[in-house]
Structures are given as structure tokens and as C-alpha cells.
Symmetry: C2
């Protein structure tokens, strides 16, 4: 009931101009176009794997039952790859969870956190019984995305890497033999109790493999995150798990092609992009950036955005000349996967919690490196040289001026 | 008549799985969705400028008459920007031309070239009378895209930078006070008569401002271009014209985010991407990469792809286990503009010649640099360091292995 209230607030208070009555772009198109037209539109919008040949994964009834009972969107589709002679297929089942918060932000913090844990439990169970090998949760999943408020009291949600949320997830990792990527607000006890926006990588035995801290911190609109934590100091680690090499590009890092590139240079086969972003700001970018990264770097990308509108107790302004208000706008969900061959899955709902599952043969990464040759033709030495020059204060851009310019512009 | 024959070949022989009877994705959607649904789909697919508020430019009748008489697609839409207090708007009218070849590839070379010149004349005139300030033609516009054949006789189409095609365009530049970007196959007389894939920048007074040579050369499918020319040696120049700072990312360079980045670091406000690419290979990537570059680098992008199917005299194979054949597949046109605010225009036809015109206030570039802060938050020093290490033979990727990995995978 609380969820419903929050969801309704989201749909009525958001100013993103969206119409109601549809769950996702692809649901809207499939419901309103003739099948042969939808197939052609899918070919153009989703690429080869989805152009009429999108293969649905058959999930166990127990997973579907959890989805029905707990009212979350559940989609499962498969990316194909060519058979090779010298390597066996390396098919991995990967899951993404998107969710709204569970109770109002006015509730006691420990209740809020516990309610999110309770809400996620059946979704993680569904991933587990569906045989998901690697599961990623959304950015700062243990809390509302309170950074818009600039209030420091929300820092109480921060945890050390081996804190409460990690312990909660370690049980699932062990139970289901599942790698879990857990993006949290981290408090670094050993370094003056500062905070970071961090993804904890939990191995399939429940062990902590490592962590990655968000590299690029936004200063845009209500994303006042630089009030709370600084640019990450963990580089661009790729985590070698039993199921493949994974990395995490947290939220705003998706706008930085160099960040995507670095995970690729370090050998990532799947890069997760746990995010929190709202319709009025970023929705037309959402299907572009992750997919471009998958193409350019020959890896899979799993994009996650939280859902719903989060209403805060005290009003705040947004640096946009508009009146003070109590919410951040509508987090539009729309989690999905992109592949190295430029294909992508349809998206989860813009409004509902959801679990997106895909099977992906990681051999597709090297197949597309070989096919398109982007690494081979990248001329990294040219760009190493350019960037080395660019970061110096006396950098001069390479500009060729029309010699007649001053004559013309007089 | 020859054009028609070529076009029909294209639609019947291409194996890209496309259906006929529509001109572009957006034309298909607008013709088959209710207006309010199309508006929402446009908001999601085209971004804020096109979400119901796409402003059509009123063109002079003389331009429309040329379009009707010579049967080319003509579209003209406007991007908006905020008014500033300290700068006047800097609205520039920019044009893109896409075209098929004019007569069969079996005709004498000089006839083929002349026929393309004759075909382009009314299209360039239309741009001129429509008041276009900067016009860009397609890649290697003076010739069929013969690199699939691996035959060296097509090298005869190469010209020096001040050759026949440049002289042809200089007249239009002077007549219409128009900057023209002319991508040709260049023969470098002063360096052993080698060839380059080059864009010549012709100033609005008919002067040659400079040239840029394609930085990244493909080795994929029928794109046997590395048989003909090498990676460019001109860096990432930005050309300062009376109408703004422009650059040219030629064709396959669009797959390289670093190439886009470099033009941005050098200060480009508009980057053209003259291309030649076919449906079976790249169509799902086409709306993604240029638009991502516009977002990530806070500049406008003009994307051009040639049109039609070009049938060559001698059969060739494509490195794909399929039988020999005489054509490259269907060049799907679909030229369009992308903007720093993540919006883009609908595309020109997949089948017809076309002229796409947009008005763009170049102030939008800095407005979006300020709004999103991508340059400010980019941490270039991190990537300069990473690339400097990466290009060394002994580079070791940053990999964190699960310590239990060998135990698990045994």
C-alpha cells in the first residue's frame, strides 16, 4: 500500500511529460503496430538478435510464481552467438533488479532499510531459482536516493563494505551459487569515515572479491552527489569470477566514453551500469549510451535504473528557477541489456519493480572484436599522446582557421 | 532510369531482411501510430527538441521546386537553445547531402564522375537557395564505393585536394557564400602519389581552408579500404570557419569514441560523419554512435550515408562463406543530425537521394557543457595515464581474481 502511494505520487508529480498507460517503449510499439511492422521496427531499434528472432528463456514456474505474488516485472531473453570450433560456448545467465523504495522516507531509517531488504528478498529468490549466475542490484539500493536534499543525515545509511547489506546478500550468493554486485553508499572506516559510492562484488561462495568506487560524480540538477562523496580511487578493476570477467560503471560514469573504454581495456566481458536517473533529465540518452559502450568496447552491458518517485520530508530547490518541492522526479526504470553486436533487449517497466534475465554467450565479445577490429584499429598511441598534452595547462587545440575569417567577419 | 534500375537492384538483392514500403523509421511510426502515441515515442526516441515540438523550417519555394523536379527528399527542422544574456544566438543553417551513384559502374569513369556532378548540382543549388551556411557531402562522393572489389583500377577516381571536384564545388561556395565539406579519394602528388580518404574544407569564399584524412580504416566484411589507403596523418583538426568550428569524423571513425573525443577536445561545435555503410552490417548501430558522440562531447553531429546498391562488373567474395556476388548490399541513407541535448532529427529516406537541413544555435554546445559538466568531471589525467601504460607491450590489465576461482572451476 505504501508502494502504491509512492508510485501514484510518481506518476502524478513528475514533470517529464510522459503519458500513462504503457509500460515501456517496446510494449507500446508491439501493442500498436502490426506484427510485421513491429518486427521491422525491432530490427532497427533492437538489432539482429531481436529482429523477429528474440528468443524467450523458459523460466521455472517457481520464478514466475514469485513474480506474480510480489507483483514485479519478469522478463527473460537470450542473446545468440556463433558456434566456434576451438572454444565451447560460455553461456552465462545474468540478472538485473530494479525497484522502488518500500516505505516513505519519513519512516525510521532502520525500518526503511529493512523494508527494502524484505522487498528484494523474493526478487533475489526469483533470480536464484531461475538459475541466474551473476546478479546486479541498483545504485545505492539500501536507501532512497536522498542526495537531492543536501541533508547530511542520510549519511547514516552508509555501511562498510562488509556491513549489513553485504551480509544479507552473502547468504543468497552461497545459497544460489550466484555472484552478486551490490552498489551501496560505503563508509570507509579506515580512512576517516569518509563516504564513497561503491559496488561490492560478492563471489558465488559468498566471499567478498573486491569493490569498485564510482569514478565520475555528477554536479547536475538534483544530483548533488559531490556533497557526499568524491571521485573514486579504485581505478577500473575487472573482477574475474567463475562466470566471467565483470566490471561496474556506476551511474553518471555512463556519460564518459573513457570510463567505458577503461573497463574494456582491462578485459571486461560484462559491464554493469547501476544507475538512478529521472525522466525529465536523461530519458532520451538512456537507450544510447550503454548500447554505444557495448558496441565500441565489444562487451555486454547491463543497465539498471531505479523506479518510482521518492518524496522527501523537507523541500529543496533544483537550481532550475522552479519552486521548491519534495521529490526528485520519476525514476523511470527501463533496465535492459546491450550486446557487442549492437543488439539489445526490450526494457523492463518504467513504473514497476522488475527482474531482467538474459543468457549471453561471452564468446560473442571476442567474435565481435575479431569481426569489427575496433581494438586493432584504435590507434591508442595517438590518443595517449593527445591526452598527455591536453591535461597540461598550456594545451593548445589543433585549430585551422580560415585565413579570410577576419576579413569576412568584420 | 539508370538510377531506378540501381535502386531496384538494391531492394531486391540486399540480404538485410528489410521490408519495403517505408522511407524511414520515423515515417513508418508516424504513419502507423496515433498522434499522441507517436508524440510519446518521439519523445523517447528523438529527445526533447523533437518530442512534439519539432520545429519545421519554412524553405523558399525555389528549394522545394528543385526537390520535386529532381526527386530528392528534402527535410528541414530546427534545434532550439536557451536565450543567453551575455551572448547573442549563433544560429547556423547546416545541410547534409546523401545520394546514389548516377549511372552504372560499367560506364567510362569520366562519364560516371560527370554524371554524379550533374546529379548533385540541383541538390547543392537547393542548399544554396535555402540559405545553407555549411554543407557536407557524403564519403568519396565522386565515385562508387568500389573498395569492396579490391581492384586497383578504381584508384583513377582519386584527385589531389585542389582537383576537379574541389574546383566544381568552389564555384558553389562562392556563389552561395557557403562552406562546403567535400570527402574524396585523395591522391597525394607530393608524397609518391599515395592515396588517402580525405575531406577537403572549402571556405565560404571558395578558398581551401584545409583537409582532414580519415583516421581509422576498416577491415570488416567488404570494407577492404586498407587495400587502398592508410590511417590518416592529419590529427584531429578543427576548422574555424566564419559560421563556426567544424570537424570531420570520416565513416568508420564513428565506431571509435576516442576519435569523437579528440575533435571535441580541439573545440569542434559541429562534427560531420560522412559515411558509406550497408544495412546488413551496421543499421542498428547507425542511430546510436553519432548521437552518443553528440551527447558525450557537447557538440552537434551531422551523419551522412550514401543510398542505393552499387553493382560492380566483376564478382567478389565478402569473407563470409557466401557465394561471390557483384554488389555491396544496400546503402541505407538515413542521414540526420544529433544535438548535445540528446535530441536528434528524423532521418532522410533509406532509398532516395536527399538534402537534410537544420538550424542549430551553436550556443547549445556550451550550454550543455555547463549543464552536464562532462568536461569538468572527465578526469582526463586518469585516462592519459592508463593509455600511456596500455600502449606498452608489457601492459597488465587491472584484474581482481576471485581467490576461490581455481577451487571452483576445477
Amino acid at each position: 500500500m505504501d508502494k502504491k502511494m509512492i508510485s501514484e505520487n510518481g506518476e502524478t508529480t513528475t514533470a517529464d511529460g510522459s503519458i500513462c498507460g504503457y509500460d515501456s517503449l517496446h510494449q507500446l510499439l508491439s501493442a500498436n503496430l502490426k506484427p510485421e511492422l513491429y518486427q521491422e521496427v525491432s530490427r532497427l531499434l533492437l538489432g539482429r538478435n531481436c529482429g523477429g528472432s528474440l528468443e524467450q528463456i523458459v523460466l521455472p514456474e517457481s520464478a514466475k510464481a514469485l513474480s506474480s505474488k510480489h507483483d514485479f516485472d519478469l522478463q527473460a531473453v537470450s542473446f545468440s552467438a556463433d558456434k566456434e570450433q576451438m572454444r565451447m560456448p560460455r553461456v552465462v545467465r545474468v540478472g538485473l533488479i530494479q525497484n522502488s523504495i518500500a516505505i516513505p522516507t519519513t519512516a525510521p531509517f532502520s525500518d526503511q532499510k529493512r523494508a527494502i531488504f524484505d522487498k528484494l528478498k523474493p526478487m533475489i529468490d526469483a533470480a536464484g531459482v531461475a538459475g541466474v549466475n551473476i546478479l546486479c542490484l541498483q545504485e545505492a539500493w539500501t536507501m532512497p536516493f536522498a542526495f537531492c536534499t543536501r541533508e547530511k543525515r542520510w549519511c547514516e545509511f552508509a555501511e562498510p563494505v562488509d556491513g549489513e547489506s553485504t551480509k544479507f546478500l552473502q547468504e543468497f550468493a552461497r545459497k544460489y551459487n550466484m555472484v552478486i554486485v551490490s552498489p551501496i553508499l560505503e563508509r570507509d572506516i579506515d580512512h576517516g569515515e569518509v563516504m564513497w559510492n561503491t559496488a561490492v562484488i560478492i563471489g558465488n561462495n559468498g566471499n567478498i572479491i573486491g569493490k569498485h568506487r564510482k569514478n565520475h560524480i555528477p554536479r547536475v540538477g538534483d544530483f548533488n552527489e559531490s556533497t557526499y562523496y568524491m571521485e573514486g580511487d579504485t581505478g577500473h578493476p575487472v573482477f574475474e569470477t567463475v562466470f566471467g570477467k565483470i566490471a561496474v560503471n556506476i551511474c553518471y560514469g555512463r556519460h564518459h566514453p573513457l570510463n567505458w573504454l577503461a573497463f574494456g581495456l582491462n578485459g571486461a566481458e560484462i559491464v554493469f551500469n547501476p544507475s538512478a536517473t529521472v525522466g525529465g533529465l536523461s530519458e532520451p540518452m538512456w537507450p544510447i549510451e550503454a548500447r554505444n559502450a557495448a558496441i565500441a568496447n565489444s562487451y555486454f552491458v547491463g543497465s539498471i535504473n531505479r523506479v518510482g518517485t521518492e518524496v522527501f520530508p523537507n523541500p529543496f530547490t533544483s537550481g532550475d528557477e522552479k519552486p521548491q518541492h519534495n521529490d526528485f522526479g520519476h525514476f523511470y526504470g527501463s533496465s535492459h541489456f546491450s550486446a557487442p553486436d549492437a543488439s539489445c533487449t526490450p526494457s523492463l517497466s518504467r513504473y514497476k519493480d522488475g527482474l531482467m534475465i538474459s543468457d549471453m554467450d561471452l564468446n560473442l565479445c571476442r567474435q565481435y572484436k575479431d569481426k569489427w577490429g575496433f581494438r586493432m584499429t584504435a590507434r591508442y598511441e595517438v590518443y595517449a599522446d593527445l591526452l598527455a598534452k591536453y591535461i597540461k595547462p598550456d594545451f593548445k587545440p589543433q585549430v585551422v582557421s580560415d585565413p579570410l575569417l577576419h576579413k569576412n567577419s568584420s
